[in-house]
């Protein structure tokens, strides 16, 4: 009995395992390939031009506070509540200027906000389609009326961008939507790009921004790190960066050119393609179980007859 059970068991485990191994290996069979759409809207932030005035931050809150239910964050030292002093992106701040200081002479500002990925992880993981990517504009948008608040988008985003309103009984996810329902609709430009007095934020189509970025790199190679951040990171983003310092020092993570969502979706799709595997599994198991039941019932009857 021992031997048979061992063999049966290994058979079962082997069959399940082999099926999953094929997907685990993540072969290129199911790779649909990522199409980069350079006609999508985006922004180019040039850290060398930024003067750190934070006008973009207050413009963002002024324009979007009602729509995005953003509140102003009080600084700890400020009892009268005069100062908006966020230290990071949060449930009340969609964009933020930070200063990175390596030494007295070497420093750089950096702007954080949603990167508007070509293949956004947050959209890929949202179970109820509350995160969406608009087909034409490429804006990664959020719908609070659909969101269940599972925060999987936060786990998935490699840039740590979506934020959650932890202190509210009726919370929502907060992230940049390129002023989609506010400034962009009214004036055709995001509030931060419109406000920036130093010309550090340029708004436009991705292809124009990329061209502009490479032109700037060509014109002043000494001034910049020779890389446009976001051109290839994680499958490409519509928010692009130029800077004079290595980007990982500015808090922008190093990300491979393959979008994380490509990797996970490939595996998930292989397992659930056409729902064939689960249905096959169910029918096979049903067949075995019913056969076993019949065998067993026969046994039972024999027993009873023998007993009587």
């Amino acid at each position: 009995m021992k031997k048979t059970s061992r063999r049966d068991f290994l058979k079962l485990a082997g069959a399940t395992g082999a099926g999953l191994l094929a997907c685990g290996a993540g072969n290129a069979l199911a790779n649909e390939g990522l199409q980069v759409n350079n006609d999508e809207l985006g922004m180019l932030y040039d850290a060398t031009k930024c003067v750190g005035c934070k006008a973009c931050m207050s413009a963002c809150k002024r324009v979007n506070s009602d729509y995005g239910s953003l509140s102003y964050e009080k600084a700890k030292f400020d009892e009268d509540g005069l100062w908006d002093a966020p230290s990071d992106l949060s449930g009340s701040t969609r964009t933020l200027i930070k200063l990175f200081k390596e030494s007295e002479k070497r420093w750089s500002y950096v702007k954080y906000s949603c990167m508007h990925c070509q293949k956004p992880s947050c959209v890929s993981v949202c179970p109820v389609s509350a995160m969406t990517k608009e087909k034409v504009s490429g804006i990664v948008d959020y719908n609070k009326n659909t969101c269940i608040g599972c925060r999987y988008c936060q786990i998935a985003c490699p840039y740590n961008i979506p934020k959650f309103q932890w202190e509210k009984a009726v919370p929502q996810i907060v992230k940049c939507d390129l002023c989609k329902a506010t400034n962009l609709r009214e004036k055709g430009i995001t509030a931060c790009a419109e406000t920036c007095p130093a010309g550090a934020i340029k708004f436009g189509k991705r292809k124009d921004l990329l061209e502009e970025a490479h032109q700037r790199l060509k014109d002043a190679p000494d001034k910049y790190v020779a890389h446009v951040y976001g051109e290839h990171e994680g499958g490409g983003t519509n928010h692009l960066y130029l800077a004079s310092m290595p980007f990982n020092k500015l808090g922008l993570p190093e990300i491979k050119p393959e979008a994380p969502a490509e990797f996970s979706e490939k595996i998930q799709h292989t397992i659930y393609k056409g729902f064939i595997a689960p249905v096959a599994l169910y029918s096979t198991l049903c067949f075995i179980a019913v056969k076993n039941m019949k065998k067993h019932q026969g046994h039972d009857d024999d027993h009873q007859k023998g007993g009587k």
Partner: protein, 445 residues
């Protein structure tokens, strides 16, 4: 299935001292749940934008459902591998699964920021099949329903045989003015009884298709629980981030399932002062090493393939947790290779505990410990957060204790004894000191 005599209600009182201790823990937990709904999740938890998933997801959902896989693991054994001798264990395994999954679902509703939107899971236009969580959510909801159906025969049998003593006691206790008329009440209860008697055999006929569904669904969602973290390629430590996550989670829940079935049986035998079901347990225990060996092989093979062996042996924070998880499972399995250990309740208990701990730690490593969203983010659960989880676990134990007293769940040991040599079973029932039953023949089936 005609197995109703296999099971028996547990005799004894429901309202014991431990009942009230558990109840107070549950109430404390629920107080914090109340606070969470009034003041927001931030008021009770230490979760942050860097660690948006805390122990509610890591323990209650990801680990708790694995621990609740006893029903799944035993069902595979009984119905797929045709080992009917384990049939007496299945009801208690299913009962624990039912509570485990039900309360995992409950804690998800505590964790969700906007639970009132959860109905979107049932609206096809909102479905997002790319999301592993979508798959997990639908499967877990379906499986919880299946578990209730699988347990229903126990409730129906109990209703069928009920003399309604408690109902009558409540009626007598009520003031005569508000108490329902005795005759009407009896008629209505008789209707319920007849209904149950009508439904029970019909349910039994189709039950096997639900049982198989109850094997398919966990296979799907337990692997998807691993898929959930596939996307976090930049945040999850390379020791754990691999394309094999779905397979590893599936194997992991199977060996946790068998181990927990052993633990649960030993603990309930011990605390309800029933004889240990050593024969069934040692058979179960013999299976575990085969699953763990596959799991351990995949883990090592995958690490070697990705050139991460050195990271595992580095001796830093992550490698420490990895080694702990790995060694707990490996050493626990090693014990089970020894035939003598498989026949001893003590060694079974020790090895099964090690495997459950190691397997659970694997899930913690994937969801929390190996998860690093970047510099500056830290997470350690708050007191309130822990108390909510503890309250939920207490509710599971409480529910289990009440259910085994109300419904025929535990194996009927008298019948068991009759299968074996009668004298043996009787002798060992009395002697509590002797924790091991003699190794008898396999069951007559």
């Amino acid at each position: 299935m005609g197995h109703s005599e296999e099971y028996k209600k547990l005799e004894g009182k429901i309202f014991t001292k431990s009942f009230f201790i558990l109840l107070s823990v549950v109430l404390l937990g629920f107080y914090f749940v109340g606070v969470r709904y009034v003041k927001g999740i931030g008021a009770v938890s230490n979760m942050s934008d860097g660690y948006p998933w805390g122990i509610w997801i890591t323990y209650d959902v990801a680990t708790g459902t694995a621990i609740a896989c006893g029903g799944y693991a035993v069902a595979i054994l009984v119905y797929i591998r045709n080992r009917m001798q384990y049939h007496p264990m299945i009801r208690s395994a299913i009962l624990t699964s039912m509570f485990g999954y039900g309360l995992a679902g409950f804690s998800v509703m505590v964790d969700l920021g906007r639970p009132w939107n959860a109905y979107n899971f049932f609206i096809p236009s909102k479905w997002q099949a790319n999301s592993a969580m979508f798959e997990v959510a639908l499967c877990v909801m379906a499986y919880s329903t299946v578990l209730i159906l699988e347990f229903l025969p126990a409730i129906l049998t109990s209703i069928e045989k009920s003399k309604w003593d408690r109902m009558n006691a409540i009626r007598n206790w009520l003031h005569p003015k508000i108490a329902p008329d005795k005759k009407t009440m009896e008629d209505k209860l008789e209707m319920v009884r007849l209904g149950a008697a009508w439904l029970n055999p019909r349910l039994n006929k189709v039950l096997i298709f639900f049982i198989v569904l109850g094997i398919t669904l966990p296979t799907m969602h337990q692997s998807s629980l691993g898929s959930l973290l596939l996307i976090a390629s930049t945040k999850l430590h390379p020791l754990w981030h691999t394309g094999f996550l779905p397979l590893l989670f599936l194997l992991n829940c199977v060996f946790i399932g068998y181990s927990i079935a052993i633990l649960e049986s030993i603990i309930s035998s011990y605390s309800f002062k029933r004889p240990f079901e050593i024969e069934e347990l040692s058979g179960l225990a013999g299976l575990i090493p085969f699953v763990t060996v596959i799991w351990l092989t995949v883990v090592i093979g995958d690490l070697a393939h990705r050139n991460q062996i050195s990271a595992a042996l580095k001796g830093d924070f992550y490698s420490g947790w990895f080694m702990t998880e790995f060694l707990l499972v490996a050493c626990g399995s090693l014990i089970l290779f020894v035939k003598k250990a498989r026949k001893s309740a003590r060694w079974l208990f020790i090895s099964a505990s090690m495997i459950v701990l190691g397997g659970a730690l694997y899930r913690f490593n994937v969801y929390l410990i190996g998860f690093n969203p970047g510099q500056g983010w830290k997470y350690f659960p708050s007191f309130a957060e822990v108390m909510i989880t503890v309250g939920i676990v207490a509710l599971e134990i409480l529910g289990y204790k009440v259910f085994v007293a109300l419904f025929p769940v535990l194996p009927n040991m008298d019948l068991h004894g009759a299968h074996k040599k009668k004298g043996h079973a009787k002798k060992h029932k009395g002697s509590e000191a002797d924790k091991t039953l003699p190794a008898g023949e396999a069951h007559a089936h």
